[in-house]
Symmetry: C2
Subunit: 216 residues, 2 copies
């Protein structure tokens, strides 16, 4: 007669092999039930909107998913269901994305190479105390607040220009493509070189790829 007191979990992950396996692992802990699984943020949000469930104890949210990814899902949750507790799961330790998930309300961020023991701790901790941050994550948070003053923000036109700069077009061609004078383009270029502390178009391309402005 103890089954009614199990915590209710939801898994959102496109790797079916993983999510279905993880369900078994979580159930083996004995204290949790996986009540639903979804393969991307879209179908998960659809479910939330249709059913408006109020008895969910924890969401395990994958970061890299097709259709609607973890970050977009997290942003939606922040606006629409801030009551739901989320632990983000991911294979990558990219600082940018970790910070964004946390600032959008994730209560924890675990890498998929975490041991099951720590995983169990994290689930318990978030359900009971409300959050769980590994050293990796807290380190990044500290690093972030220290460097936050020198943040770089790019305007929409600049982004468009950068994308074109990552092709074999000349600046002249880019100018006509964007319906601007080559001199304006030159202005964009110069201000970006300045902002991003680079000296050549090659540097711009490398920056764009590193910061996922363009994809290769």
């Amino acid at each position: 007669m103890k089954t009614n007191f199990k915590r209710k979990l939801i898994i959102v992950d496109d790797h079916l092999l993983f999510s279905q396996s993880l369900e078994l692992l979580i159930k083996s802990f004995g204290e949790y039930d996986v009540i639903e699984r979804f393969e991307n943020g879209k179908v998960f949000i659809d479910y939330l909107e249709e059913n408006n469930p109020t008895d969910i104890d924890l969401i395990l949210l994958d970061v890299n998913m097709p259709v609607l990814d973890g970050l977009s899902t997290m942003k939606w949750l922040k606006d629409n269901r801030p009551d739901l507790k989320v632990i983000a799961l991911s294979v990558n330790d990219d600082e940018e994305i970790i910070i964004k998930m946390i600032t959008n309300g994730a209560k924890g961020y675990l890498l998929k190479d975490t041991s099951p023991e720590i995983f169990k701790d994290a689930i318990e901790c978030v359900v009971e105390k409300g959050f769980y941050f590994t050293e990796l994550v807290s380190g990044m948070l500290i690093n972030k607040v220290n460097n936050d003053n020198k943040k770089i923000s790019l305007k929409e036109k600049e982004i468009v220009f950068i994308k074109h700069a990552c092709t074999e077009m000349t600046y002249k061609e880019i100018a006509s493509e964007m319906c601007l004078s080559p001199k304006t383009i030159d202005g964009y270029r110069e201000s970006l070189f300045d902002k991003l502390e680079i000296k050549t178009r090659i540097g711009l391309v490398l920056y764009a790829i590193k910061h996922k402005i363009v994809f290769v």
Copy 2:
């Protein structure tokens, strides 16, 4: 009294959460036992060399791992234990790596978003019939043999030059870095532009990143 006839599997994957969960899933199929789990190719090979096991029915090998990755492990197996059957598991469908895993002896290649049902089929199929290829993989094999004639091969010097070209150095600087005349560098550049069908240094950078000659 049926436990002795279960097939013996080994999982090699650095994502502990995944491998431990997957073990539960596989056991739930009823016909298989996961006799060992390893978190990278190195410790797996160490185990093989020490124990020389002969009763392994199947290896589930992750492609992206630290220390020694799936491809290197596969190459070792091809040379040292070609009797072992391997299904490669990965999140990415990069043609290059799939082809290499297959040509190095993997009997199957599954993406981690495969459904557990197909996964079960694949395991059975490889254990019984010796191989299992999804449409994705066979499509790539066909595509490969068709395009194999127009393969591009780069010389060592060219690779070095490309790596330098993916920095903010000028060609002159690259020349002095490589202890060659700027004119020789210019020759490399021109022949590469020709071979790779590109027209600018930007194109070279994009090519290099796409083909993993440099990393960002």
